[in-house]
């Protein structure tokens, strides 16, 4: 029963969806403070390459090496988002163009590829990888075995992050302040909230999440380095934030749905199921479905309940309001 297509798809949907979830949560934090960061794909790739590098070069036991890798990936993600933060918050440059610049700078033909080549990372598999936490006997339990107990520690941490971010945004003073900054920076400023500081902090933390999302791919899902390994996951994550109406708990649902779509192609191939040009449509499905859901969300009646932060994408200049 645990080998049925549906169960396997849900279980691998959770696994494949985890990088999407981390990246979407990070983007959600930045966007809630009013900063749109289109550099997710680039930050994920550099996080992926540097996380992989750390695991190959830290000679310690698996636990320490993997923890170090996640920390390094988070730090490089934050460092990259600092460039974006400086350009759009301090210099008030266009958030769209700056985010694109970040993806071009760090992305598949930029810094991540440079580092991967210069550090000779391609070809070898990862020395340590994240594997399932719970004993094999628990993973054999029907249905919940593979789905709930068959996952690695990053999946469980991501659940903690969803709950944490939900509590933060709805139940804490700083969380409410972030929302104020994202909705109306002028009003927040009048209330004595430091708009610039809130935006910097959340953009940097968002970048760290994107870096960790990248490391999740190279250390848990496909433990190796190839140029452009994320394959557009960063962009799907940005779209996810829109589908999720900027709410962390809905990010989780969306991430697993798109994770399952990504898992469909290898599963169908493994089971020799084909339907027309199977390779083409199964590989294209995550991208096409992202577009379809975007259209549904952005059109008609759903639009009035969107929940986008009102000041998203606008720079804030106290003297120009």
């Amino acid at each position: 029963m645990n080998n049925s297509l549906l169960i396997v798809l849900i279980a691998s949907g959770v696994a494949y969806g985890t990088p999407l979830l981390y990246a979407a949560l990070g983007e959600l934090l930045a966007e809630r403070s009013g900063v749109l960061n289109l550099g997710v794909e680039g930050m994920m790739l550099v996080g992926a390459v540097m996380g992989f590098w750390t695991v190959q070069h830290v000679h310690a036991n698996a636990g320490i090496a993997l923890a170090a890798a996640v920390v390094v990936a988070g730090l490089v993600g934050a460092a990259l988002s600092a460039i974006h933060a400086f350009l759009v918050i301090t210099l008030r440059a266009s958030q769209i163009v700056s985010g694109l610049a970040l993806t071009i700078f760090a992305g598949a033909v930029g810094l991540s590829s440079y580092l991967g080549n210069d550090l000779n990372l391609s070809g070898a598999p990862a020395t340590h990888t994240f594997s399932a936490v719970f004993p094999a006997s628990m993973q054999r339990w029907p249905v919940i075995g593979p789905i709930v107990f068959g996952q690695n520690v990053l999946v469980y941490i991501s659940w903690g992050c969803v709950v944490g971010i939900w509590l933060y945004l709805s139940r804490t003073r700083p969380g409410l302040n972030v929302r104020a900054v994202g909705e109306s920076p002028a009003a927040a400023d009048t209330m004595g909230i430091n708009v610039t500081r809130y935006r910097y902090v959340h953009t940097l933390v968002g970048g760290a999440f994107a870096g960790v999302a990248g490391a999740t791919i190279t250390l848990a899902i496909t433990p190796q380095w190839v140029d452009g390994i994320t394959g557009g996951a960063g962009w799907i994550a940005i779209a996810l934030v829109i589908f999720a109406f900027w709410r962390p708990e809905l990010c989780l649902v969306g991430a697993y749905f798109f994770g399952a779509l990504q898992a469909l192609a290898p599963q169908l191939q493994a089971r020799h199921i084909s339907l027309g040009p199977t390779v083409l449509w199964t590989n294209a499905l995550p991208y096409v479905m992202t577009i379809v859901v975007l259209v549904i969300v952005s059109s008609g009646t759903a639009r009035s309940r969107l929940g986008a932060p009102a000041a998203l994408g606008n720079p804030y200049a106290r003297e120009e309001r």
Partner: protein
Amino acid sequence: MRITFERRLRQPRWLSVAVPVGSVVFAFFLAGLVLLATGHNPLSTYRQLFDAAFLQTGSLTQTLISATPLAFTGLAAAAAFRMKLFNIGAEGQLYMGAIFGAAAGLYLGGTGSSSPFVIAAMVVTGCVGGTLWALIPGVLKAFFKTNEILTSLLLNYVAALVLTYLIFQSQSYWRETKGFNASVFPVGKQLPPSAVWPSWTIHIQGGVTVPLGAVLAVLAAVVLWVLYARTRFGFEARVLGDSERAARYAGVRVRRKILAVMALSGAIAGLGGASQVGDFAHSIDGDPNGLQKLGYGYTGIVIAALARYNPFAVVVVAFLIGGLENAGNTLQGVDFPAGLVGVIQGIILFSALGGEVLIRHRVRIVRTKKRAAAAGAEPAS
């Protein structure tokens, strides 16, 4: 002491040239730091770069091969970004132009020298291919207000999958099925001789080959400049870019304009794809490590931004960045890791963006008398 930005009432002309030039210089300085940090000598790397791009025999021919598609994608981005319509899909639109253009060439071409009729057909079908692909995000934006950045970008991945599928995973019309080589490794069908685009040789540097595509790119730049600087269409598009409300009030039909500009942008990118097939590749390149790895569409965005969306500047910048790309391909190896060119381009774009602030704002350093003034201005809480 505090640094403030004041909006300039008038933007001086010289700044719009000085700032992009300064950004490039600054970018090479920063990229030099990256090189130093990873144990390379920036000065010798840059000298090699410049030689390989512009000075060595045959280098200008190679630079034009990289610069031609970049001019098209740069113009495509400039046409749309001018109206603040962020078409990030030039990459996919270029693939579609290549697929459509190649189909026309394969179908109509025959023996003999280049035929104007076949080439004209390839130009038109290339434009049509790019336009159709661009109209997907265009229609979604115009009728459903769907974010065109995400849709046009995600379609790049779909177009890349289609390109690979046609050559590697199917027995399509574009794939070579006869011959020994084709049975070893999947390749695209070669264009018949009359569908190959002509080129001209200029006798400098031991002969520089100018492809037809480069000439078409310059023509496209002229058309685009006239359209945006001298016609009602361009004026309305610019107004719409600055303020949608003002445009609506002035009677601009917003939906129609979005569709038209998206179609125009896609057509230029598609023409770039047709030129890629007709001028250089002469077949469809479905290899994920081939055309798809070059990222012409994304580099086009860097070019458009650096050129500040001016079509003529796009052509010049495309030539320079084309030199950089060409040198990157030539030098790629231990001293010159792949990806460096992308890093330099990213930094150029960052610096250009930062520089934009200098064009729009006057930066002033305000000296404030410390505590006393601050305490006097704010009532104690």
